[in-house]
Amino acid sequence: MDLDYGTKYEKYTKDVQSFCKKYKGVQFSDTPKVPLASNNKSGGHTVTRSEWQKILIENGYFARSVPKEYGGYGGDSDIIKSRIIATEFSNARIPGPMAGQGIDMLVPTLLELGTEEQKSMYIKPTLHGEMIWCQGYSEPNAGSDLASLQTKGELIDGNWVINGQKIWTSTAQYSQMMFCLVRTEPEASKHAGISYLLIPMDTPGIEIRPLVDMTLHAGFNEVFFTDVTIPEANIVGKRGEGWAVANATLGHERGSLANPNATMNRLNQLINRMKKETIDGKKLIEIPVYRDRLLKIQGKVIAFQSHSLRVLSSKLNPGQDVKIAKMIQKLVGTELRHELEGLGIDIMGELGTLYEDSPYLRDGGSWQFTYMYFLGLIIGGGTSQIQKNIISERGLGLPREPKVQGV
């Protein structure tokens, strides 16, 4: 066991710290392109989000290993440095880079499988936050069984003509582009008939209908395609290889849904609230029933954070056995966060139900919002039940579901 990053990272940590000091209290002058994105309101420097993104890239604090010609920093891929950046930014409360499905999923996919032309056209504006992407995967009849998707793409006169419908499409209404799974080979078997296409969202024939979710925000959309026509070249990988292309990035999404450091920060926020709030003059943290629930969750949060160190370590030390350890992260992380947010509500009793702009609101209603939001994350990106199938089948070697005949 050696939790020290080593002397070669000491200077790097100091550099990051002095950057954080310089930009302490940095503030955005523009409204986010995607509502509910990270917001920072304390004083200090004022920059636009896009400028901030560029500052981060110039310093190597974002898009570290993306080559310079595609708008990245052009450095080596270094997990420890990424970790130091995340930790120092979090400690100093400096906003991180913009996230989103374009940055988290499309960029890695293009770097791995895109053509030279696609890389130079899309990666830079995406990293700089100038091109927002949405993901067109799920359909009304293709959720957990994603590979049964039916949105059709036909190659007619050198163009893809797309018809069908997507659902659960986050940020579609703010996006310039969609990366989309489309059935282009109807005769091929289920998984072999799919292609990965890049669709400009201003193409005629696209209709976006916002889908208001239980948090009362339109976090998702339905997207309808009627004879949407795009160039033949807007395909990543070859025809019928879309499933493999998409799977290259699904792993990125699952890993990013439940960040243990964010969970620890949220726990600390809950502890502070419990030290402040009272019932009949008694602090919540001193009331045994609430206190025990808090400490019980703290045990889980600590275990999950220690666990993330183990997974991190396996990336630096090939050969460490983390097969099941990695598979459980989405399931455990999202369920844990949901439970933690639920306690944030329960300790407040009736006050915990207040929402939006109500008087007596605590923490901007974030406990209720995040409690509901994480229920969405428990379902999205492969439901908890699908995760349990994956763990039991691929992790523990239990048999797959038997195929039902004739359905």
Binding site: G299, N317, L398, E401
Partner: protein, 362 residues
């Protein structure tokens, strides 16, 4: 940066597991549990002494191996997986730590050398420091002790005992003292023994540094808790492995039951909850070894969290085995009971969590 057990730790743990597979089969455990096989138990104990279990933590200057608590945790995991019917946590982990941190140089010289050469063996009873039940509790005056201690662990063939007052002063009593009476308690866990000790004017050797500071006893308890958590992790992993094996073989409705999601999901839930337990136990042991600020919190939270997961795993694993899980035929209940015992020793989860709260100033 490396988070996990080292090659040496895994190698040693594998040796412990292999030894127990060979020497402490379920048939052997059954014989020992029924109470008429002292010889078998002594052989297993001796075999593990030969591997060096008694000397793990003791510094080299006292004839020990000078290894750290993470190493000891790796061993504890191995012992838990094989439900080892021997003394370990009290005799070879808590006792040396109590003496190393609470004893004078002379006491260290005297006792540690003898533990590492297997000339003496300690039982340990600190339950009254954590939560005194009924009328238990020890009073020390001058060089004598009176009262009783409950749930003394590793008392089997002990030559000495380390006990404590409710306020945390630790002292040593010899088992051949005329003022000592040992009463064996009958618990669910037949793989290890638990004693009540009644003392009347028994002579004590006070661990000098424990009268004015809680540091030594807290370290001893922390280490014991991390070891119990590690034991539960090892035992829980075996219960999961047995469940998965059983689910792959047992057929109902023309299918192996492991192909039903109800069963698969129970297995996945057990695995998903247990995996982070390895991490928190190793991390807690590492914090103990490097005496970081959060060491005490980590010890408490590893014990209470792993106890909760162990409870869930032992229940679900039994259920996966259906009616057979409930029988004595499979012997699964030995692991169930071992986990159940570990949960209560050195503080049940609620008590340990409350302590974790106090440590953080809540």
């Amino acid at each position: 940066m490396y988070f996990g057990l080292s090659e040496e730790q895994v190698f040693f743990q594998d040796n412990v597991k292999k030894f127990l597979e060979d020497q402490a089969s379920l048939d052997v455990i059954r014989k020992i549990a029924s109470g008429d096989s002292d010889e078998l138990q002594k052989e297993i104990h001796q075999g593990l002494i030969n591997l060096g279990l008694n000397a793990l933590l003791i510094p080299e200057e006292y004839g020990g191996l000078g290894l750290d608590l993470l190493f000891a945790a790796a061993v504890s995991e191995g012992l838990g997986s094989g439900i080892a019917p021997i003394s370990y946590i009290g005799s070879y982990i808590m006792a040396p730590i109590a003496i190393m941190h609470g004893g004078s140089n002379e006491q260290k010289e005297n006792y540690l050398n003898k533990i590492s050469s297997n000339k003496i063996k300690f039982g340990v009873g600190l339950s009254e420091y954590i939560a005194a039940r009924d009328d238990s509790g020890l009073e020390v005056s001058k060089n004598k002790v009176n009262g009783k201690a409950l749930f003394v662990i590793d008392g089997e063939n002990a030559t000495h005992f380390i006990l404590s007052t409710k306020s945390g002063g630790m002292f040593i009593v010899e088992s051949n003292d005329p003022g000592i009476e040992l009463i064996k308690l009958t618990s669910i866990d037949k793989t290890r023994s638990y004693y009540e000790i009644i003392l009347q004017d028994a002579k004590i050797d006070l661990l000098e540094k424990t009268t004015s500071s809680h540091e030594a006893i807290n370290k001893t308890v922390d280490a014991g808790r991390i070891m119990l958590a590690a034991d539960t992790v090892g035992a829980s992993q075996v219960m999961i492995n047995k469940s998965v094996e059983y689910a792959k073989e047992r057929k109902q409705f023309g299918r192996v039951i492991g192909s039903f999601q109800a069963v698969k999901h129970m297995c996945a839930e057990m695995a998903a909850e247990l995996e982070p337990c390895y991490s928190i136990v190793w991390h807690a042991a590492h914090c103990f070894d490097s005496t970081t600020e959060e060491a005490r919190l980590m010890a408490c939270q590893s014990k209470s969290h792993v106890s909760e997961v162990g409870k869930m795993v032992s229940k679900k694993a039994t259920e996966v085995h259906g009616g057979m899980g409930f029988t004595d035929l499979l012997g699964l209940h030995y692991w169930f009971k071992r986990i159940g015992m570990n949960r209560q020793l050195l503080g049940s989860p609620e008590l340990v969590r409350d302590e974790a709260g106090k440590i953080q100033g809540f």
